[in-house]
C-alpha cells in the first residue's frame, strides 16, 4: 500500500474517533478509558506478525516481548473494564440485602 493511502485511512479514523464520544457521564470515564486502553493493545497484531515471521534472533526476541506486553494490555484491559462495569450491573438488579 502507498504511504498516502495509509495516511488517508489514518486521518479518517482520527475524525471518527473525535466524533465518537461526545457525551459521556462522568461515572463512565474510568471504564471508558480502560476499555479504550484495551483496544490500543491492537498492536498485538503487529507483535504477532513480528514474532511469527522473524528471520533473525533479535526480531524474535523483540517480537516475543512485544507479544507479551501487548497481551497484558489486551487481556488485563478488557478484564478490568468488565470487572468495573460488572459492579454497576450488580446493584442494578435491585438487591437490598446487606
Amino acid at each position: 500500500m502507498q504511504g498516502t493511502q495509509l495516511l488517508f485511512i489514518l486521518i479518517l479514523a482520527i475524525f471518527l474517533g473525535l466524533e465518537l464520544i461526545r457525551k459521556v457521564p462522568s461515572t463512565l470515564h474510568t471504564p471508558l478509558m480502560s476499555g479504550a486502553n484495551a483496544i490500543s493493545g491492537i498492536t498485538l497484531v503487529g507483535a504477532v506478525l513480528s514474532a511469527g515471521s522473524a528471520h533473525t534472533a533479535l526480531t524474535t526476541v523483540l517480537g516475543t516481548l512485544a507479544v507479551i506486553f501487548a497481551t497484558i494490555n489486551v487481556v488485563g484491559g478488557y478484564l478490568v473494564t468488565d470487572r468495573m462495569l460488572g459492579m454497576f450491573k450488580k446493584k442494578k438488579s435491585g438487591d437490598n440485602s446487606k
Binding site: 459521556v24 461515572t27 463512565l28 479504550a36 490500543s40 497484531v45 514474532a51 522473524a54 478484564l79
Partner: protein, 467 residues
C-alpha cells in the same frame, strides 16, 4: 486469502467503533466492552491463520505469559488501586508498540520515508507512554512522591531532550543527509529510544498526583497513536484504524476530564501544580478555630437530621470505608432520614472512580447524585458528611482568586446546615492546598480513621435502634 483477512480486519474495526460508542452509555457499556474484545479476538485469530506466520512457538509462549500476567493482575487488583492498574496496562501497550517498531527495523532496516517516519514515531510515542505511565503508576501508588518534582534546569533538560530526539530521528529518517558523518542508523535508533524513555519520566515528574487521571487519559490516547504509527510502519490497516480511534477518542476524554477539573490541558501538563501552590505554605497560618466533635455528639446531630448528604473522596477508598458507609446510610434511612451521596466528577483518583467504589459496596444507584444536581439544593440539607474528600469541597475554588483551585467546580458542602468532616488530621489534601471549609462555624471535624469513625456512628445507631 488477503481479501478475507482485510474483511475480518474491517469487522474488527467495526466492533471497536461500536464498542467504544456503547461504552459511553450506561446501559450498553458492558456489552460494548465485550463486543470490542470480540473484535480484538477476531483480529488476532485471523492474523494467526493468515499464512504469514512461519513459527507459532514464540507467539504461543508470549500470549500465554501475557494472558496469565494480565488476567491475574486484573482479577487481583483492589478496586481502590484501579487507576494505577490502568496506568500499568497502558504503559505495557506503549512498550509493545515500541518493541514492534524495533522488530520491524531489525527485520529490514531500509524502508520508504513514510514507513521509517512511522517507525520512529511509534518508538518515540511508545517510549514516552511507557515510562510516563510508570511514573503515573508510581505517583498514584505512593511509590514516588505525589507532589510535583521540580528542579532547576528542568526546562533546559527538556529542551535538550527534545532537540536530541529531533536531531537523531531526522538523521535516522533521512540517512542520506548525514551519510558522511552519521554513525550506524542502529545507534541513532537506540539513542532516540533512550531519549524518549527519559522524556516520559521528565514530562510526568513535574505533574502533581492530583492531576494523574488526566495524565493517564492522555497517555492512553498516546498509546493508541503509538499503535497507529506501528500500523503504518508494518502497513496494517487494523492497527492504523484502531490506534487512531483510541488516540482521538482519548483526546476527547482527556479534554472532558480537564474540563471537569476546570483546567486547561496545557496548564495541567506544564504549569506544575506545586509552583502555583506556593501560596499554600504561606496560608499555613491558621484561618480560625477548628471545631472538633466526638462520635457521640455527631450521632446526636445525625439522629435528628431529616436529610443527610454524604460526600465521599479518595480518603474513603484508602480507609476501605465504603462498606461501613453503606451500612451507615442504611441505618440513617431506617431512622427516617433521607440519604444521598453527592459524587464530584473527579472524586477519587479518576473520574467515575468513586462510583465504581460505591457500586462495589452495593450503594443503591438512586442515592448517587451528581454535583450539578446537589449544589442548587444543598442549603436545604441538614447535614453534609465529608468523608476523605478535600479539594472537591474546597470553597477557595469559588472564593479565592489566587487559589490554585480557583475556578474548579466544587460541591458547596459548607452551605449545608452542619458539615461533618471525617479526616485523619489537619494535613492538607492530595494537592497540598489549605481548605478553609475546615474552619467554618458550621463545620465539625471528626478526627480519626474514616472507617473507624463511621463504624463508631454505626454502633451508636445500632444501640439506639435496638432499644
Amino acid at each position: 486469502m488477503s481479501f478475507y483477512i482485510e474483511l475480518a480486519y474491517i469487522i474488527s474495526a467495526i466492533c471497536f467503533v461500536l464498542g467504544l460508542k456503547m461504552l459511553s452509555s450506561k446501559d450498553t457499556a458492558r456489552r460494548g466492552n465485550m463486543l470490542s474484545s470480540l473484535g480484538m479476538l477476531m483480529a488476532v485469530v485471523i492474523t494467526l491463520v493468515s499464512g504469514e506466520i512461519i513459527s507459532f512457538r514464540w507467539i504461543a509462549i508470549g500470549i500465554v505469559t501475557g494472558s496469565v500476567i494480565g488476567a491475574l493482575s486484573a482479577r487481583l487488583v483492589a478496586m481502590t488501586a484501579m487507576p494505577e492498574m490502568v496506568a500499568l496496562f497502558n504503559g505495557s501497550g506503549g512498550l509493545a508498540s515500541l518493541l514492534v517498531a524495533m522488530a520491524v527495523y531489525s527485520e529490514s532496516a531500509s524502508g520508504a520515508t513514510v514507513t521509517t517516519t512511522a517507525l520512529v514515531l511509534a518508538i518515540i510515542i511508545g517510549g514516552i507512554t511507557f515510562t510516563g505511565s510508570l511514573m503515573a503508576w508510581g505517583k498514584l501508588s505512593g511509590v514516588l512522591p505525589g507532589k510535583p518534582v521540580l528542579f532547576a534546569g528542568q526546562k533546559i533538560l527538556n529542551s535538550i531532550l527534545v532537540a536530541g530526539i529531533l536531531i537523531t530521528s531526522i538523521a535516522f529518517i533521512f540517512p542520506a543527509l548525514t551519510a558522511d558523518i552519521s554513525p550506524e542508523t542502529f545507534h541513532l535508533l537506540l539513542t532516540f529510544t533512550v531519549v524518549a524513555l527519559l522524556m516520559g519520566i521528565t514530562l510526568v515528574m513535574p505533574i502533581g498526583g492530583a492531576d494523574m487521571p488526566v495524565v493517564i487519559s492522555l497517555l492512553n490516547s498516546m498509546s493508541g497513536l503509538a499503535a497507529s504509527a506501528a500500523g503504518i510502519a508494518i502497513q496494517n490497516n487494523v492497527l492504523i484504524v484502531s490506534g487512531a480511534l483510541v488516540g482521538a477518542s482519548g483526546i476527547i476524554l482527556t479534554s472532558i476530564m480537564s474540563k471537569a477539573m476546570n483546567r486547561s490541558l496545557s496548564n495541567i501538563l506544564f504549569s506544575g501544580f506545586g509552583s502555583v501552590a506556593g501560596s499554600a505554605s504561606e496560608s499555613a497560618q491558621q484561618q480560625g478555630e477548628v471545631n472538633p466533635v466526638t462520635i457521640q455528639d455527631a450521632f446526636l446531630i445525625l439522629e435528628a437530621a431529616r436529610s443527610v448528604v454524604i460526600i465521599p473522596g479518595y480518603g474513603l477508598a484508602v480507609s476501605q470505608a465504603q462498606h461501613a458507609v453503606k451500612e451507615l446510610a442504611g441505618l440513617l434511612d431506617s431512622n427516617g432520614t433521607e440519604v444521598q451521596f453527592a459524587i464530584h466528577p473527579v472524586a477519587g483518583r479518576m473520574p467515575g472512580h468513586m462510583n465504581v467504589l460505591l457500586a462495589e459496596a452495593d450503594v443503591p444507584y438512586e442515592q448517587l447524585v451528581e454535583m450539578d444536581s446537589i449544589n442548587p439544593v444543598i442549603h436545604t440539607i441538614d447535614v453534609a458528611i465529608v468523608i476523605g474528600a478535600n479539594d472537591v469541597v474546597n470553597p477557595s475554588a469559588r472564593e479565592k482568586e489566587d487559589s490554585p483551585l480557583y475556578g474548579m467546580p466544587v460541591i458547596d458542602a459548607e452551605k449545608a446546615g452542619t458539615v461533618f468532616v471525617l479526616k485523619r488530621s489537619m494535613n492538607p489534601g492530595f494537592s497540598g492546598i489549605e481548605n478553609p471549609l475546615f474552619f467554618r462555624d458550621n463545620t465539625r471535624m471528626l478526627f480519626g480513621d474514616a472507617k473507624a469513625s463511621v463504624q463508631g456512628l454505626v454502633e451508636e445507631f445500632r444501640q439506639v435502634l435496638k432499644t
